[in-house]
């Protein structure tokens, strides 16, 4: 087992040298090499108290980080310490505690700004999550700038959160929704996407990584093409932000969203990045306190960015804890995390491919650490239930992406997803539990 883990880390090292986030998968976990470890996974695991839990008498094997990642104690500690010593409502407090709290909240925004390499801090808007951020753009940008007949281009592999807000907008404004098709491997072919960009396309909104299949979309090329067609671009980075470095200036996307809880941070907080000139031109999303400059009963003027989009008391402690989560992954290194996970994905792909009735769904050339599969003759829910009996936590269902499931002709899949704390031994536990499923249900 140890040799395998070392090899995985070595492969990751090679890919790191190759450069680029989302290194292509290696296919040979066997063999040996030098000890180019990325980080000490066991030491990292010690940062996550929940990984010491047992389920039904088995050690917890948590393979559902794509749904939500577990939290290192540094994140919990940051939230605790903030509440214990620095908490008050932010802004306009005349007492020192409110000023301290405000400073910590602003500092969290600076951390996010650095993390995404945004040009300005006020281009970072704190939201409740990625879903909230997309709804914000659909409501504010969409209702202000999109007219009947204007087109929004999505892809066929979007999460419901990047479909339904645009359908709301279609109801209100009569816009036209299009979706770039997905091929059999689970990829969105670039030429198909480009073909659907037209003179009426005002916005293209797409995932960086598929939450169901792990497909990494060629977003740099998609953004360039959309811009050439005169469209703005929103990138849903919910599934990529914990696995690869994102630079919004290099990408040149107009909007980018992600959730804190998939980045080892707390729930209830997410981020909308938007280019200054767009956020400036957009009307507020919600009305309330903090987002105004002055209010009379006749007329209200709005606060400058980013307060204009942060009505009401925001999730202050969660922003602070998100800052701690970003510090955590940054210290570990997103390229090293990505390489570690790429190695795990390759090893899992190999182990699971050896299970005869099992079919891996999604064979894109570039994949993040998500592995969807089905088993001939066994319903995904029964598989997930059996795995739970071995302490292995996976997700089964349509993963909030029904159009993609329809395209694939599958009612549901089982999905295992890997995070920075997973190990090759956990992949073995998954594979062994699946072999038992085969015995119980098919023999």
């Amino acid at each position: 087992m140890k040799a395998v883990a070392e090899e995985i880390e070595r492969q990751g090292a090679l890919e790191r040298i190759d450069g680029g986030s989302f290194a292509s998968a290696c296919h040979s976990p066997a063999g040996c090499g030098d000890h180019a470890g990325f980080y000490d996974v066991e030491a990292v695991r010690a940062d996550f108290p929940i990984l010491e839990e047992t389920m039904h008498g088995y050690p917890l094997v948590y393979l559902d980080s794509a749904a939500s990642a577990q939290k290192p104690f540094m994140v919990m500690e940051a939230e605790y310490a903030f509440y214990a010593r620095e908490y008050a409502n932010i802004h306009r407090g005349f007492y020192v505690l409110s000023q301290r709290s405000t400073e910590r909240y602003d500092q969290a925004r600076r951390v996010v700004k650095e993390f995404l390499n945004a040009r300005h801090e006020h281009e970072i808007v704190f939201t409740r999550g990625a879903t909230d951020a997309i709804n914000l753009v659909a409501a504010s940008f969409g209702e202000a700038f999109l007219k009947e007949g204007d087109e929004v281009l999505l892809t066929g592999l979007e999460h419901h959160s990047n479909i339904v807000p645009w359908q709301f907008l279609r109801e209100k404004r009569g816009i036209v929704l299009k979706a770039a098709p997905v091929n059999g491997a689970g990829e969105v072919p670039l030429d198909e996407f480009i073909r659907l960009l037209g003179p009426r396309t005002r916005l293209a909104a797409f995932a960086h990584v598929s939450n169901v299949l792990g497909t990494v979309l060629p977003i740099a090329e998609m953004i360039r093409a959309a811009h050439e067609a005169g469209a703005k671009v929103l990138v849903d980075a919910a599934q990529s932000v914990a696995h690869s470095k994102i630079d919004v200036q290099t990408l040149d996307c107009d909007f980018l969203v992600f959730s804190g809880h998939k980045l080892y941070g707390p729930t209830g907080i997410g981020v909308l990045y938007g280019k200054e000139e767009l956020l400036d031109a957009m009307p507020p999303y919600q009305g309330g306190g903090d987002m105004i400059a002055s209010v009379s009963l006749e007329r209200t003027t709005y606060a400058p960015l980013p307060a204009k989009f942060e009505a009401g008391t925001p999730p202050i402690a969660q922003a602070v804890a998100l800052g701690a989560a970003i510090d955590y992954v940054t210290a570990l290194g997103l390229d090293r995390i990505g390489a570690h996970e790429t190695g795990l994905l390759a090893y899992a792909t190999e182990r699971l491919s050896a299970i005869k009735p099992l079919t891996i769904v999604g064979t894109a050339q570039r994949k993040a650490s998500v592995l969807s599969f089905v088993m001939d003759g066994v319903h995904p829910h029964d598989i997930a239930q059996m795995l739970d009996g071995r302490g292995v936590a996976v997700r089964a269902g349509n993963h909030c992406a029904q159009p993609l499931m329809t395209r694939l002709g599958l009612p549901a899949t089982v999905r295992a997803s890997f995070g920075l704390y997973n190990t090759a031994a956990e992949v073995d536990a998954l594979a062994e539990a699946l072999e038992e499923v085969e015995v119980v249900f098919l023999q």
Binding site: D382, Q385, P411, A412
Partner: protein
Amino acid sequence: MSDSVELYSKAVLDHGRHPRNRRVIADCSHSAKSDNPLCGDDLSVPLRIDQNDVICEAGFDGRSCVLATASASLMTEMLVGKTPAQAKMLFQRFHALAAGDAEKLNGGMDVEATQMTVLAGVHAYPARMKCATLAWKTMLAALENERNQQ
């Protein structure tokens, strides 16, 4: 697999893998279809109720997990010979059992209660309640849905 074995007992696996009455009933008098979009399952339950108001044939068809399939298989075996009112009572008893409320099974361990006990393990898995009761709820809908009214 310690805990899952309880749920996937021999009897459940037997019904789940070799379901009884999995068929379309062409001349059914009542039928309904339900789906659970979250798992992509869909299930139809056709019934034939004779002029004496007795269920003389019960079937099911569709795509579902082992639990839902086993539950549908068991249910269709139990329905034959019952009136719609008795079928509704049977559902109440099954629901109580699946919810872990065995006392509400009232009347002790008669033949039906024993048959249903096969699925009693589900009460430890609240997420699977929907699977276990899918066929039963479809059956209730079918009772309200006479074919010539469709």
